[in-house]
Symmetry: C2
Subunit: 324 residues, 2 copies
């Protein structure tokens, strides 16, 4: 199969068609129209076989995941995802594999009303680089740098599930089948918190998605905002699967250090807290207050029963950590 | 070296700063502003070690080339390049290599006033996927689909040089040192025809860049426009290096089938021909008329001394051809 056939069969004419796409797949460039008074938000994420996913990951999950991690970055800016470009490097043409991979990608793209407007398909070691674009009304994007002393710290959902899914495979942690199914779904089919991100516009003072781990990602907000944080570790939401599978002290590395959950972590000024909670309920978005911003230069204080709690901070570093 | 340090040292704060970049490297997304009444043009190209370049390519050339091939797609749409996202997968941290690679990339980015607004740096087999963005006034983009019967076919510069550079290494073709130096520069440091593309707005009826080979890329125009073409092979511009190194008949595979030259191939209605040639002279852009569009359904007729000339058409196909 030649490159043109591959693109025609699995990408062109598949998926949704947005009215703001003036020219899609098939020319030197795609052409799109950004609405007036909106900024364009752009993010890029690469997934490499053996580094970001197991070789035995289902192609459908991989197609989903490759797009989800990019949409999560758009969510963290409060942007509406619109268009993506897909750089796909494949070791060989396995039509069944490509069919399932693109199916997984088209499914999540359609769910979030995102159009695949172009890309490049090449031969080589399995690597996926997606560049996702979105739009956000001028001046409403959520940055990492806006957290202020006194702001409340929130997270949208349970943390640590994806990490527990990974480590249960590597370390053979014993987990009940129904919980394991849930955890694997959390790792394989992460849900970018796109609606949550848009609800936060104009209310949150900063936001980031939890891809590297709670402490690592919170540190990014603190470093950019030049503040400290105090976090009540008992307030951090966890899943039934997590609580049933591990004792509290063994949960902590997953909750605090592991990433890949793609929940949103954000801060809200006290004056916006009740409005935010009302809007979250209105849009059916879960979020839990886990702490507060303090003055300082980027440190995190962990509290347990109101007492200081010592815990070594780590995060997911490419070039530093063992591949998953 | 951790990922954040790498990005900070080699990307953040390096290169030019455009006023339309509202937020550059360092948050979940970059934020940019597309001018009113302009469309956004988007393209993605991946380069894989061992497939798109020799393993011994100089890192500076690779950095240049990775960006150049993307800017060439923007040029072929008549777009003004503005912002790029860089997905860089590296087998290891070799600081000297990265320094030279990013130097090559920043050089060409600065030359074309392009800002690197983000990306992702991961560990794995050497692969570079760039997503380049540009802007083009509404309705003026050059598509592949606009060629009409009677339009003249032009190409911006000599063809076959990059191919001759590659094959001289592989096949040991004997080439004089000064010519070899020129040919290697054509392959290693291709010049995207950005100015030419912008001159063509409103004058050319279709355009494409020659990345897969003259016949293959012309076929894309013909297929999309539903027309035929007649090409005088003696009119196709070639370099001194090409003419001095090979007999005419041995030049043909390079001129007609080899890609990687990144010249622009375009068509112009007869009514715009004199205006176009005037503007090309005014902006110092070389372009040569090599044939004319005929009625038909996508065939190319080659002429030599006014006689039909048979030549088998091939093009650069990932998944079909030996890696370079």
């Amino acid at each position: 199969m030649k490159e043109f056939e591959l693109i025609n069969r699995y990408f062109k004419g598949r998926g949704i068609t947005r009215r703001d796409v003036n020219l899609g797949i098939g020319d030197d460039c795609a052409l799109v129209t950004v609405p007036q008074n909106c900024q364009l938000a752009v993010t890029t994420d690469t997934l490499v076989a053996g580094v970001h996913f197991f070789d035995d990951i289902s192609p459908r999950a991989l197609g989903h995941r490759a797009l989800a991690v990019n949409l999560s970055d758009l969510a963290a800016m409060g942007a509406e995802p619109t268009w993506v470009s897909v750089g796909l490097t494949l070791p060989s043409i396995d039509q069944k594999w490509i069919e399932e991979f693109t199916e997984g990608m088209h499914e999540i793209a359609e769910y979030f009303n995102v159009q695949i407007i172009g890309g490049d398909t090449t031969q080589g070691p399995l690597t996926i680089t997606i560049c996702a674009k979105g739009t956000v009304p001028e001046g409403t994007a959520l940055r990492r740098s806006g957290a202020k002393v006194g702001d409340w710290i929130y997270v949208t959902g349970p943390l640590g599930d994806a990490g527990l899914a990974i480590e249960s495979r590597k370390q053979g942690i014993s987990i009940e089948p129904e919980h394991l199914k849930y955890l694997n779904k959390r790792f394989d089919f992460p849900t970018p918190r796109v609606a949550a991100g848009q609800v936060l516009r104009g209310l949150a003072s900063s936001a980031i998605d939890v891809s590297d781990g709670l402490l690592a990602d919170l540190s990014h907000i603190l470093d950019m905002s030049q503040v400290n944080a105090s976090v009540n570790i008992q307030s951090i939401p966890t899943s039934d699967a997590m609580r049933s599978s591990l004792e509290f002290k063994h949960q902590l590395p997953f909750i605090l250090n592991y990433g890949d959950d793609y929940e949103l972590l954000f801060t809200v000024p006290d004056s916006n807290k009740s409005m935010l909670e009302m809007k979250l309920r209105q849009y059916g978005v879960d979020a839990t207050c886990i702490g507060q911003i303090k003055s300082g230069d980027g440190q995190i204080e962990l509290l347990h029963n109101g007492e200081k709690f010592d815990f070594e901070q780590q995060g997911f570093e490419h070039f530093a950590k063992e591949p998953v």
